[in-house]
Amino acid sequence: MTAPLLSVEGLRLAFGTGEDAIEALRGVDISIGPGECLGLVGESGSGKSLTAFTTMGLLPTQSQVVAGRVMFAGQDLLQKSERELEQLRGNDLSMIFQEPMTALNPVMHVGEQIAAPLRRHLGLSRKAARTRAIEQLDLVGIPDPHARVDNFPHEMSGGMRQRTMIAMALACDPKLLIADEPTTALDTTIQAQIIELLNGLRRELGLSILIITHDLGVIAEMADRVAVMYGGRVVEESPVDKLFDEPLHPYSKGLLRSTPDIDMPVARRLATISGAVPHVTELPSGCTFHPRCPDRLEICSKEAPEEKCVGAGRRVACWARDVS
């Protein structure tokens, strides 16, 4: 296996300090190889977006990294100064967000917004950057890019704004694109367009993608490997088809079973996971999934299981899978 492009190792992040500290990330390990697409899946509050933001060096206020490393191309991003990070962000690492309307500047032409990283990182002139911006808009499939370059974000539709975000993120040929719920706010037919676009760009540009989503369908369409997060940890990691064939962690199983499947005959009742996602301030002891787990053992409420390797590329953190 080639060296990973990005590896997050034992990342722990807490809000507040001392006694009152709330650990939101409790030892996250993920890695992405060059040209690979890793899907990070989980429900609200599982820590998937927080992992992405920390990777970008965009820590929320009042939070601090307690332990761990974020290695990108051989360097620990957590040790970088703000200035060094600025050199990397938008250049080697880029990010797109769920709601492009809030991520784009509403009073700036989209062309200027795409040109900004080009001028900053590649030192292009205003004119050259504009030409590149038009090329970028064309690359992401925006019709009539020469006219669209002078649009304001509100003059575009949701799908076009997301394309613009992607154009901006990819302007400086980054090695890694972090996509945080990029299709969640979009309609089904537009979601399909954006998925096709990202898959195409990945092939064309050899891009690595970290896709963050709660939607297993998006994972099935895009990811090579999947990491399932729950309660601030990765509970299962697997090649994508293996996860869908045979999920190992009770939470992954529950997620897959409780999602209505359009390709399957309709069952009378949907399978469910009992209870609700715990709030980050009220995470249960031991394995954070144990109060909802059908396979719970006695040890589960006492001690958190470590992630263990269980076959090719598969790791799972579950006491009940600890046999043999």
Binding site: D241, P260, D261
Partner: protein, 348 residues
């Protein structure tokens, strides 16, 4: 059939159950600001005890149809009939008697409960308004009883909405609607805001309550997988008009309208090895302020011809319970051989 009959008491004795639809919308129109045709001639009916899913993308007017059906907003033209009675122009004070039988569940569990009213008081409000529950301790006891029906603890009747999670709040919203045993519930994206693991619980709850009370749903959704699970019939809306209505089985196995086909093919696959053949639609839905001429889907339609640009296709029956608004819709459009002269066959 999985549905049981009415539970009695609701319809009352001597009430003749005819096959008249519970809700009937005819030529319904809603124009905002004189130019935005949000709903532009919708014909739709919801039958007793069935679930009709109204699907479409944002801006297609499905939520406006929901608000019109509830008479939360008045239509510009057309009629709304509820249980055979024209309620299009009914004044607000007369609507009260109808609202006991016509309830709603909204998408956002955070904004559909009054933050300054306790859970117990919120969910018994409809019963209270309609004089179905007493004061004080009686009302509280009823609230507790209702909460237990949706898997919440009766001990929490005095808690505030903010003390409940999203899924729990949606349960409160659902039992509030069901408390008066309505004949129809208009549910606008009731599970879209919920986490995956909670969503399936709420879908099951919606189905269980429907069975016990015998309610019909007008279920508005953009999520095809949920629709396939919950619906009996499906209606597809695009830019203010119905494009196709069909029984669920027909719709998911043989959708006729090119838009229905594209919509279904755009649903992400449920397994990485089962990627579907995509009909990727070009562009975005146009704005309802500038509806295209002829068939409003023609600028994005892979099958469009001149006729589509000039002539508006009417919704017409092409099979049992199956209506399509497309010039090309024929009982079996996929079978090319049927369209050719007898004796010849199409070659691939």
């Amino acid at each position: 059939m999985r549905r049981r009959g009415p539970t009695g008491g609701v319809l009352g004795e001597g009430c003749v159950v005819t096959e008249e639809p519970i809700l009937k919308l005819e030529r319904l129109q809603k124009v905002f600001g004189g130019k935005i045709h949000a709903v532009d001639g919708v014909d739709l009916e919801v039958r007793k005890r069935e679930t009709l899913a109204l699907v479409g993308e944002s801006g297609c007017g499905k939520s406006t149809v929901a608000r019109l059906a509830l008479r939360l907003t008045a239509p510009t033209a057309g009629t709304i009939a509820f249980e055979g009675r024209d309620i299009t122009k009914l004044p607000q004070w007369k609507l009260k008697s109808i609202r006991r039988r016509l309830q709603f569940v909204f998408q956002d569990p955070y904004s559909s409960l009054d933050p300054r009213v306790t859970a117990g008081a919120s969910i018994t409000e409809p019963m209270f308004v309609h004089g179905l529950v007493g004061f004080g301790a009686k009302r509280k006891a009823k609230a507790g009883e209702l909460m237990e029906k949706v898997g919440l603890s009766a001990r929490h009747v005095d808690q505030w909405p903010r003390q409940f999670s999203g899924g729990q709040r949606q349960r409160l919203g659902i039992i509030r609607a069901f408390s008066v045993e309505p004949h129809l519930i208009v549910a606008d994206e009731p599970v879209s805001a919920l986490d995956v693991s909670v969503r399936s619980q709420v879908i099951n709850l919606l189905q269980d309550l429907q069975e016990t009370v015998g309610t019909a749903y007008l279920f508005i959704s953009h999520d095809m997988a949920t629709v396939k699970h919950i619906a009996d019939r499906v209606a597809v809306m695009y830019l203010g008009r119905i494009m196709e209505t069909a029984p669920k089985e027909t719709f998911f196995s043989a959708p006729h309208h090119p838009y229905s086909q594209a919509l279904l093919s755009a649903v992400p696959s449920s397994h990485p090895r089962r990627k579907r053949q995509r009909v990727v639609l070009p562009g975005d839905p146009p704005s309802p302020a500038k509806t295209p001429s002829g068939c409003r889907f023609h600028p994005r339609c892979p099958m469009a011809v001149d006729r589509c640009r000039n002539e508006v296709p009417e919704l017409r029956a092409i099979g049992k319970d199956h209506q399509v608004a497309c010039h090309f819709a024929a009982p079996n459009p996929l079978n090319v051989n049927e369209l050719l002269p007898a004796g010849s066959t199409a070659t691939a």
